[in-house]
């Protein structure tokens, strides 16, 4: 019979004969010790892969990005940290070039906030529906479907935004271009909803049953139980899910590259074209020479983006830890 453990044995049999595997027979005990020690060393070393990768990413981002502030640009002008963060003009092609990322940061934040207005209500509504309103059949189907939608490639959503939403907006609102902040925000919200719904649903689902039953026993309606017992208990997980969903939206590249319009201007109108940080990196990396000041500037944007998402991730894990139920152990 073909079972997965048979398949496993088939592929790993040769491996077991190597020195990593314990020798059997008379000196079996000694062999066991060697195999144990070797495997512990190997797995301990490999266990640091993720940490190494993260450190390497940080190292190379900073190596390439800080060159912008250390070395003078091609025409001899220098870029200060203040000019970079607070400068409101992004003209990398001018002489002297202007590397002010304020409009790019503002675009990233405003697109994220605007998409949150759509993704938080819809994502939370979906999570609350799946965990507390839907019957077991819908639940059984709903969860995998959400997971499936989380895998939707962003370039496909970008194409839909470009080919469907943009002409639609142009026609209905009579704007010069349908590629704008609102279009990108709508498509970003579609990316964030599955993340928010899935994590929030997990959190709501893990609230211990006896807490809900206690609430019902006190005469609370299903709605009161949901809003006053279940949601507060799951608040840490729900909060973490929302932050992770928004972080995903902020770090998303293809949707904003294709739908946001790409004008590096400081604007807060939803119908204006903007150029978030991610799309600036993706759009301009192809036209820069390795080591030029423009190249360093794009890495410096990368550092800014990395620090922003890093802060959001830390916030999410802080919230998940801070507001989690203490002193109540689910059976």
């Amino acid at each position: 019979m073909i079972t997965h453990s048979n398949v496993w044995r088939f592929f790993t049999k040769p491996l077991m004969k190597t020195r990593l595997a314990p020798r059997r027979g008379l000196n079996g005990l000694a062999g066991k010790d060697i195999g144990d020690r070797q495997s512990r060393i190997i797995f301990t070393v490999l266990g640091f892969t993720a940490l190494t990768a993260l450190l390497l990413i940080v190292l190379f981002l900073f190596l390439e990005g800080t060159a912008l502030f250390i070395h003078p640009a091609e025409d001899g002008s220098r870029v200060g940290l203040g000019d970079f963060i607070l400068g409101s003009f992004w003209y990398p092609g001018y002489t002297p070039p202007e590397f002010g990322i304020l409009p790019l940061m503002a675009a990233s934040l405003s697109v994220t906030v605007l998409s949150a207005c759509l993704s938080i209500p819809l994502g939370m509504g979906t999570a609350l529906y799946l965990s507390s309103v839907a019957g077991p059949r819908v639940r059984e189907w709903g969860k995998p479907v959400i997971e499936l939608l989380a895998a939707m490639p962003s370039v496909v959503l970008g194409l839909v935004g470009m080919m469907v939403i943009a002409p639609f907006m142009q026609e209905w609102w009579d704007v010069p271009s349908g590629l704008n902040m609102l279009n990108a925000s709508v498509m970003l919200a579609l990316m964030a909803i599955p993340t928010i719904a899935s994590i929030a649903d997990d959190a709501l689902e893990s609230v211990p049953r006896d807490l809900l039953e206690a609430s019902y026993a006190l005469g609370a309606t299903p709605l009161q139980t949901l809003m006053r017992t279940r949601l507060p208990c799951a608040l840490s997980g729900v909060g973490a899910g929302i932050i992770l969903g928004l972080t995903r939206a902020m770090g998303e590249t293809m949707v904003v590259l294709m739908c946001a319009g790409g004008a590096a201007q400081l604007s807060f109108s939803p119908l204006d074209a903007v150029r978030p940080m991610t799309s600036t990196i993706a759009a301009e990396m192809g036209e820069t020479a390795v080591g030029s000041s423009h190249y360093s500037a794009l890495f410096a944007i990368g550092i800014t983006l990395f620090l922003m998402t890093f802060a959001f991730n830390l916030l999410a894990s802080f919230i998940a830890g801070r507001y989690s139920q203490k002193g109540y152990q689910a059976a």
């Binding site: 997965h4 453990s5 066991k32 010790d33 195999g35 144990d36 495997s39 512990r40 797995f43 301990t44 490999l46 266990g47 640091f48 892969t49 993720a50 990768a53 993260l54 390497l56 981002l61 190596l63 819809l122 509504g125 609350l128 529906y129 799946l130 507390s132 309103v133 839907a134 995998p144 479907v145 499936l148 939608l149 895998a151 939707m152 490639p153 962003s154 370039v155 496909v156 970008g158 194409l159 080919m163 469907v164 579609l190 309606t221 709605l223 009161q224 972080t247 770090g251 998303e252 293809m254 990196i281 993706a282 990396m285 192809g286 390795v290 890495f299 990368g302 983006l305 990395f306 998402t309």
Partner: protein, 288 residues
């Protein structure tokens, strides 16, 4: 309590629950609408020639075979690198590491690696693999970059699967005189294998749809020949779609765009769906 009040509470509950239902419906409708739209628009251009031919006449004719094969190479390469490393990290975390500072630092780095935007992986791949290591714009650079992206997901999925193996399995193995390593290799890993594989396939499906990380590490819009070595650049489906969408407004490009999109979501959603179905079956037939 007044009957009036009870009725009010009931209506209130029904109304708010209807609101939640509406939110779920809207979400489902929006995403199902996109998939349906792509199927309707793209189904017409799908044919055997479309899947097996190279593009011709500056992308206005022919198929997308090189892009499909490129995406296959990139994701297979990413899996070959990420699965052993991710699995080893998960085994270390769940079977070898003692709770403590080092353990929590590794966990924190896995969580943060999962949250890093994909375009930053692309930047890193360009600076490190392409330029520093001199691998150039190639399958190898792209696969390594994608491997970094899927590693955190593989680690969490594998650790989850390893954690679900009951302690009694391990104790039974020790009772038979097996060493720690023998227990991990012969008892724990085989039992966790289905969970590990399905989790990895889910992460792989997402990697197949990523565009930003391969834009400057592996993908090109057009290659004359299929790649012959790991150091060749490739065409890739997501990048192909992006380029087709932005390269021009030629009428003949429209069906090819939608056709490519349909192939990509078929690939990504199909792989995810298969993994999810298998996982559901495993969970149902679990022996413990």
């Amino acid at each position: 309590m007044k009957a009036n009040n009870l009725k009010k509470r009931k209506y209130y509950t029904v109304a708010v629950f209807a609101l939640f239902r509406l939110a779920a419906l809207l979400t489902a409708a929006a995403l199902a609408g996109i998939v349906l739209f792509l199927i309707i628009k793209g189904a017409g251009s799908i044919s055997w020639d479309f899947l097996s031919q190279s593009p011709a006449d500056s992308m206005t004719k022919g198929g997308i075979f090189p892009a499909i094969i490129g995406t296959f190479y990139l994701t297979a390469g990413a899996m070959l690198v990420a699965l052993p490393l991710g699995l080893a990290t998960a085994v270390y975390l769940s079977e070898y590491a003692r709770p403590g500072r080092i353990n929590s630092i590794i966990r924190l780095s896995v969580a943060n690696l999962a949250g890093v935007p994909s375009v930053i992986f692309g930047l890193f791949g360009l600076a490190f693999f392409v330029t520093k290591l001199g691998l150039g714009i190639s399958i190898l650079s792209g696969s390594l970059t994608l491997a970094l992206i899927i590693m955190p997901t593989i680690i969490s999925a594998s650790e989850e699967a390893l954690k679900q193996i009951p302690l009694s399995y391990r104790e039974a193995s020790y009772a038979l005189g097996a060493s720690h390593w023998q227990t991990v290799f012969n008892v724990v890993l085989p039992a966790a294998l289905p969970g590990i594989i399905t989790g990895s396939v889910l992460s792989l499906a997402r990697a197949a749809g990523e565009t930003a990380p391969i834009m400057y590490t592996a993908a090109v819009f057009y290659t004359l020949h299929l790649p012959s070595s790991l150091f060749d650049p490739v065409m890739a489906l997501p990048y192909h779609i992006y380029k087709l969408a932005t390269v021009g407004t030629h009428e003949a490009l429209v069906p090819i765009r939608y056709g490519s999109c349909l192939v990509l979501i078929g690939l990504v959603l199909g792989m995810s769906l298969a993994a999810i179905i298998i996982r559901t079956k495993i969970r149902r037939n679990k022996q413990w």
